[in-house]
Amino acid sequence: MLKKLFNSSIGRKIAMALSGIFLIVFLTQHFLINITSVFSDSLFNWLSHFMGTNPLVQFVLQPILIAGVLFHFVMGFVLDYQNRKARPVSYAVFSGSKNSLMVSRYMILSGAVILSFLGLHFYDFWIPEMEYKYIEFKPDDPNRYHHELVEKFQDPTKVVFYCISFVFLALHLVHGLASSTQSLGTSNRYSSLIKKISYSFGIFIPLGFCFIAIYHFLSH
C-alpha cells in the first residue's frame, strides 16, 4: 500500500512535501532556540544543554532529523535527474520567466547551496559536539554553549558565507513551503494566504539567522 504510493511520482512528491515540512518545523525550533542567545546567555545555555543531553532528543529525534535531511536531499537530486531525463533535447528558446517564478525553477540550485552550507555547519557545530560528548568524553559543562557559539562567529568570512547561505535558504523556503502544501492537496482557495505565509516565513527566519550571526560578530 505505502510502497505503491511512494513508488509513484505523486507519492514521491508527497514524501518530499512531508520531509520539507518536517525540516521547516525543525528550522523553526532551531531559530527559536538560537535567538535566545541574543538576549539571554543563561537561557540559551539551558536550552542547548537540554537539547544536547536529553536522551529523547539525542537518540530518537536527532537520528530522525538526520534521516529526514538525507531523504530530502537525496530524493531532491533523484527527482531532478528524472526531470532532466524527461526532456532529452532542450529548447533553443525557453521563456520560463514569463510563466513562473525563478525561485520555483531553481529549487535544486538553492538546495545544493544549502547542502554545502550544511556541510560547513556540521563541521562547525555538530562534529565538535559529537567529539566532545561521545569520543573525548569531556566533562559535562552546562555553561559552555553560548561562549562556543560566539567564538564561531568571530571570523568575518564565515559570517559572510553563513549570510549568503541564508539568502539561498530564503529562496528555497518561499517556494518550498507553498509548494509542499499544494502537494498535500491544499485548495487554491487558500493559495493567496499560503503564499503570504510562505513569503513571511521564508524571509523572516533566514533574516533572523543572519541577524544572530552578525550580532555575535559585531558585539564581541
Binding site: S8, N83, A86, F94, S183
Partner: protein, 244 residues
C-alpha cells in the same frame, strides 16, 4: 523565422532560418505558416510539417512552441487563435515542437501525443450500460459547485502545452483535469479509485517528469485549467493508494 526542421524521428533536427514579409496583422499564426509553406513549395522545398485541425481552439491539435512558450505569447489561446498582431515588424520568431521524451517528434513540428491517449484509455472514462437500459445522466442530481468544477476540468483539450512548458515535462495538469472531471461527479465516483491509480501509473510509464509546482502549466494552458485540480489529484491518489 527560425524553425525546427527534422525529417523524421530517427534523424537529428536543426533550426533553419526563413524570411517572410507582407504578412497581415489580421492573419492567424497558422495562416502565416500556410503562406510560408506555399513559398517553400514554390521554391521547390519541403513544407514545414505542423499539426492543425479545427483552427478554432477546440481540437488541441496545434502544438507549436513559439518564442519560448507553447501557443506563443498570448494567454488563453491555442496557436490557431494566435494572431500576427502579437508580433512586431522585423521580429525574429523561434518555432519549435513541444519537447518531451513522452512526445517524440514525428516530423518538424509534429509530435506524437498518443501518450495522452494511453493515459485516457487507462481510466479516463465512465463505464455505462449501453444495452438500452442506460439511465439518463440528468436524473442524477449534481451539486452546482461540483458540476461547474467538473465542467471546467473537462474543458482541457489535451493539447500538451502543460507538458511542453513545464521545466520537468510533467503531465500532471492534464491528468489532474481528466481525473477530476469524473471524480467530481456522482457517476464517476464508482470507478474513482481504480481510475486515478491506473491513470497515474500510465502517466509514470510514459516517462513524463515530476511536478514541482512552478505553476507554469496553468499560466500557459489555453483553457486556464486551475492548479486546484493538481491538488485534487494528489489527494485522490493518496486516498486511493491507502484503500488498495
Amino acid at each position: 523565422m527560425k524553425i525546427w526542421r527534422q525529417k523524421n524521428s530517427k534523424e537529428k533536427g536543426k533550426i533553419v532560418n526563413y524570411e517572410i514579409d507582407e504578412i497581415s496583422e489580421d492573419m492567424s499564426f497558422l495562416e502565416m505558416m500556410d503562406v510560408l509553406n506555399e513559398k517553400i513549395v514554390l521554391d521547390g522545398g519541403d513544407p514545414v510539417a505542423f499539426d492543425h485541425d479545427c483552427r478554432e481552439g477546440i481540437c488541441g491539435s496545434c502544438s507549436m512552441f513559439i518564442n519560448g512558450e507553447p501557443h506563443g505569447p498570448d494567454r488563453g489561446v491555442t496557436t490557431c487563435q494566435l494572431h500576427m498582431r502579437k508580433f512586431k515588424d522585423g521580429d525574429t520568431i523561434y518555432i519549435e515542437p513541444f519537447r518531451s521524451r513522452a512526445f517524440p517528434i514525428i516530423k518538424d513540428l509534429v509530435v506524437d501525443r498518443t501518450a495522452f491517449d494511453r493515459i485516457q484509455q487507462a481510466g479516463g472514462y465512465i463505464s455505462i450500460n449501453t444495452s438500452g437500459n442506460t439511465l439518463d445522466a440528468n436524473t442524477i442530481p449534481v451539486e452546482k459547485e461540483n458540476a461547474d468544477k467538473a465542467f471546467d476540468a473537462a474543458t482541457c483539450i489535451g493539447c500538451g502545452a502543460c507538458v511542453a512548458t513545464c521545466k520537468n515535462s510533467s503531465a500532471m495538469l492534464f491528468v489532474s483535469a481528466k481525473v477530476s472531471q469524473f471524480a467530481l461527479l456522482p457517476q464517476g465516483k464508482v470507478e474513482a479509485t481504480d481510475r486515478v491509480l491506473n491513470m497515474v501509473k500510465q502517466m509514470d510509464l510514459e516517462g513524463f517528469g515530476n511536478c514541482t509546482n512552478t505553476g507554469a502549466c496553468h499560466v500557459e494552458c489555453p483553457k486556464g485549467i486551475s492548479l486546484d485540480y493538481i491538488a485534487k489529484l494528489n489527494t485522490e491518489y493518496a486516498k486511493a493508494s491507502l484503500k488498495k
